[in-house]
Symmetry: none
Subunit: 191 residues, 4 copies
């Protein structure tokens, strides 16, 4: 039953589901709670999603898509590579920092048994534009010539960790610190 009419209601459900996950944790996600948070009856969820798994997968795709979209919105093809890189790096960091729960959800989810093969593929798909941009930097001999997926790990890994530390209240992130981190990222990739 993929996407009947009411797109609005689907949005409500996504919002409710995310809220519940953030409150109750991931394992504690109950359909009833989601319905309640969305102001709907339990049965109604099953009109929009065939299963709990379905709902979660859809939510995952939705969130990842939204995030990717936000991050890439700063991308201007006219910019030279280093500018593009810096813009995207900050954009990704800031967005992750602003909604750490969303980031954490996405990460947790990517390793959960709920994640279907199809969803996984869709998720990976979204990195494509980023990898293309990195490939462009490689072609210009600006950054190291290594598999782009590896470079993605290099870039995202530290950001994930920092955001989590920040979320846990163990690290205060100042503009100065962000600049320092960017330097580190850049130093690790530049040729």
């Amino acid at each position: 039953m993929p996407k009947p009419r009411d797109e609005m209601k689907v949005g409500q459900i996504y919002q409710a589901a995310l809220k519940v996950v953030l409150q109750e944790g991931f394992a504690g996600l109950k359909m009833k709670d989601v319905a309640q948070a969305a102001g709907l009856a339990t049965g109604t969820l099953y009109i929009y999603f065939a299963h709990k798994e379905d709902l979660i997968n859809a939510l995952f795709v939705h969130l990842k898509q939204a995030k990717t979209h936000q991050v890439l919105s700063t991308y201007d093809p006219g910019d030279p590579f280093p500018v593009t890189f810096k813009k995207l790096w900050f954009s990704f960091f800031e967005i992750s920092l602003r909604e750490p729960e969303r980031m954490i959800f996405i990460e947790q989810f990517a390793r959960s048994p709920y994640l279907s093969a199809e969803t996984k593929a869709q998720g990976d798909q979204m990195l494509k534009p980023v990898e293309d941009i990195l490939a462009w930097g490689i072609r210009q001999h600006i950054i190291v010539d290594l598999p782009t997926s590896l470079l993605v790990s290099q870039i995202m890994g530290p950001i994930f960790e920092m955001v989590k530390q920040h979320y846990d209240g163990k690290l205060e992130i100042t503009p100065q610190l962000m600049e320092n981190c960017f330097s580190m990222a850049w130093n690790s990739l530049r040729r």
Copy 2:
């Protein structure tokens, strides 16, 4: 429930639990399965652990401890800082790569609702020696002067991501690649 003697049995249970988690996923961890995998009756688990939560937390601590121990076993206080850093970096990478499941379990777990505050504290505690070593590098003006917890993120983040990619079959990791990655790590940190 003060843990009785039989450390052997506790070991069996840990092993069984990890096996089950890896097979069935994290949410699908059933006490019965753990017992079965350990060749014990369900009730027996409750002799050694008060709760499922207890068992999982203990497993977490156990695995993290074991890993930390392994990693630090390569540490020789006589080595100069750069040698120490390289040894530990490789050690951590290799060990994570050799048992990616353990690493993934630890990471997943660190964000699960099962994780108790106490366990979390214990887990954080274990990073102390690593942070001390980094502080030493900072004092010698070899690496950048930033909070050590941040440096830990910088180092571990990419490794986590790479190991996961490797585990997912998306990245083949060769000795050459490892050297490249190490260079990136070093370039990002060195002064």
Copy 3:
């Protein structure tokens, strides 16, 4: 869990629960059996009652209330005290005798660990009208001037014991015997 409408179903459950208690004994009350006896699924019970304890407490209140109601239904404020007393005494005896299981359940329950403080209070509350009537008799100098709660004990105690003996098949209760017992009760109380 605010009890939903369907009073009918609640009634079914009460009936089923009492039936099970009488068949299986008190300690042997299993939710599954109750559900089965009520023609419902186990889970359904939990729609109407939060816990087993809840169900039992509610059943207790329900039975005690029903019984009190029945007994007091013979009460006519126009009657002089001795008539009232005799009517109520016989009413209580006969009703207890007619449904000894209910009486036994109530008594057993009143001493069980399941009984919550609140339920206990509710149960005690129901004796109020009876105590009021006894107080009336005291004011008229017809019966002895002792605490009404004590008088209640004097009246109910023997009835409880007799009904239990009857239930155990150790005592046949004839109309003649009842009259004799009433005389004894009256003789013990009258001034």
Copy 4:
């Protein structure tokens, strides 16, 4: 396995079991707790008693016997009936009042599914002397000529109820009150 050697240990077990019942309630009687309270291992209980049921039944008989013994110890065949009656009545009341838990245990137990037929018979047996004494009173035309078992109900019923009320803190029992109660009892029985 009725009564092997160590009579002392059996006593310990009885004491422990009663203690646990009084603390944890009747349904909450766990063999492990009894063993612990007795300073023994779980398995040891099974040397002295075949089953939990066995243990409880034996405890019941033990308590009832002890109580009966205590009550009857005031009995002097040389006394005239009214004196005997009064002595026994007070003796029973006082003893019940002094150890209400024991009394409650006995009462609860008498209606529990644990009670075996044999135990029940034994319990009833113990009332024999009391019934004999009442029969004596009947023969002398001092008290009403009704079945002795009925008279027992008349006598014990109010006492049970009063002790329970006292135990629940709802009734303070003074010597004066006891006298009043005795008068009531006597008035109800005497011819």
